[in-house]
Amino acid sequence: MTDRSRFARAWLAILAIAVLVFLVLPVLIVAPMSFSSAQSLAFPPPGFSLRWYENLLGNAIWIDAGKNSLLLATLSSTAALACGTSAAYVLVRGNFRGKRIIEANFMAPAIMPSIIVAVALYIFLARIGLLGSFFGLVLGHTLLAAPYVVLIMQAAIRGFDIRIEQVAATLGASQWQILTRIVLPNLAPSAAAAWIFSFVISFDEVVVTLFVSGTHVTIPKRMFAELMLQVNPTITAVATLLIAFNLLALALLLIVRPRAKLFASEAT
């Protein structure tokens, strides 16, 4: 190897590691700062304290936001899993005209910039009287999560041997029996992965929630609102808990489906 190319390689490594640090730094810096004893966001933290966590857990608004977020994410990810899985089955096994268009339509809510979805839903829900209702919020989140369920479940159903379904049909099983007794039990790990994915999508959603939630408060909505007013260190504790929550979800996902595609655009 020439000196020149060794030199180029060293530079590449330095640059790449710098970019990697830039990428990861935000995720790594929040947790230590959340245990700071200082009122300001001074770095390095002058001392250790749990005061921001005490602050957070003693605050009824945050607790309420947490309950709302969990309920909202549970309802919408379950709805998205049900709608998305059954639609994915038809998209894979069915053979009909207009399939590509229907499929593209199902994917569209995830591709469209959320601000457009937010404005469109705002105006529409206002017209039909659902703006600010919890039901409208659940519908919005289900809509945003369903495309990911369709993607994950389509891949899973494609990988499931169709001959097993054919044998069941020959043996006299109805379509319903084939679905509930053969297809679904075999797809359970993927379904669990899709559910976790949807849960996280809903739990972290900000833009559509800001527009259509009315007086309902979720954790991201509350966090965004506080950030727009003033930065206070309680937010750092919230952010740390959110990071822990998301990484826990990621770990769970890897347990139920070790070779899951973790990156959405890989699958699209």
Binding site: L12, L15, A16, I17, V19, L20, F22, V24, L25, P26, V27, I29, V30, M33, L41, F43, P44, A82, C83, G84, S86, A87, V90, L91, R93, G94, F96, R97, I102, N105, P109, I111, M112, P113, I115, I116, V117, V119, A120, Y122, I123, F124, L125, G140, E165, Q166, A169, D204, V207, L210, F211, M223, A239, L242, I243, N246, L250, L262, F263, S265
Partner: protein, 287 residues
């Protein structure tokens, strides 16, 4: 209509499979009623008089003639372009370096990149306030090194937004690019070497052109995402740097000018969809 399912072994053809229709219906209804109809409704609002409901081109005219809209659109385009270029310049070396590491190290680096992708955008954006604030890590380091005496203003201006958006969007470029790089047939590079080409020439004449379709596709994807970005500009711009999405928020929630928000939506949607078709075309070429 719905015909035979592939799993259906009955000999009859052209029978409507009501069971499949029933399975497709929930998502079709949800998407139809709460996505398609609202978007069409938005399009209708953009060309209707809010009071009478009569068709009018006045809103689009106002949009085209008002200097405020033009300025914000222009600013958003410039910002999106800057973010895209910066993401490509930073992301390419990272993807390239990662693709040449030993497999075990590759897995570690990828785990870090995927991890950031999994943490909510709001949290990652907030972290930049912690890092770039006056008493934050960067300013403390700069002062300790004696590079500056007063804190550098990173936040609540375009620089802060640029840093935050680039950080959030980097994985969208790095991960597909890495996937494309490991797919490249190494033998091509070996042949070039046997034929006497130097490393620089091999990179620029063989390796780089092979990654170009994926680089272009992911860059367009990043550009699309940055056009509609709301959270990062709002938080790191502190409301002082209005971009398109923030303008839409103001039009709906502050000024109650739904018809103008609808016009901006339609324009943004048209730009997004046309860029997305270019993205799909490039992806099919790259695959």
């Amino acid at each position: 209509m719905l015909g035979r399912a592939a799993g259906d072994i009955s000999p009859r053809r052209r029978r409507v499979r009501w069971d499949l229709v029933l399975l497709l219906a929930p998502l079709a209804l949800l998407t139809g009623i709460f996505f398609d109809v609202p978007l069409l409704n938005t399009a209708l609002w953009s060309v209707s008089d809010p009071a009478t409901g009569a068709l009018t081109g006045a809103h689009f005219q106002e949009f085209a003639q008002s200097a405020a809209y033009t300025r914000i659109i222009w600013r958003t385009l410039v910002m999106a372009l800057e973010v895209t270029l910066l993401t490509a310049l930073l992301g390419y070396p990272l993807a390239y370096w990662t693709s040449r590491l030993r497999p075990r190290l590759q897995a570690v680096v990828l785990a870090f990149i995927v991890m950031t992708f999994w943490v909510s955008i709001l949290v990652r954006t907030y972290a930049w306030i912690v890092i770039l604030g006056n008493g934050g890590l960067v300013n403390r380091t700069l002062q300790a090194l004696g590079l500056t005496t007063r804190p550098v203003e990173f936040l609540y201006n375009e620089l802060g937004i640029l840093i935050g958006m680039t950080n959030v969007l980097l994985p969208f470029l790095v991960l597909p690019l890495y996937a494309a790089m490991v797919r490249i047939d190494r033998r091509l590079l070996q042949v070039a070497q046997t034929l006497g080409a130097g490393p620089t020439r091999i990179f620029w004449q063989i390796f780089f052109p092979l990654t170009l379709p994926t680089l272009a596709a992911s860059a367009i994807f990043v550009f699309i995402l940055s056009l509609g970005f709301y959270i990062t500009p709002a938080v790191l711009g502190g409301g002082r740097v209005p971009l398109v999405a923030n303008m839409m928020d103001l039009l709906v929630n502050r000024f109650a000018r739904w018809e103008m928000a609808a016009v901006v939506s339609v324009v943004l949607m048209a730009v997004t969809l046309s860029l997305y078709s270019v993205y799909q075309w490039l992806r099919e070429r790259g695959a």
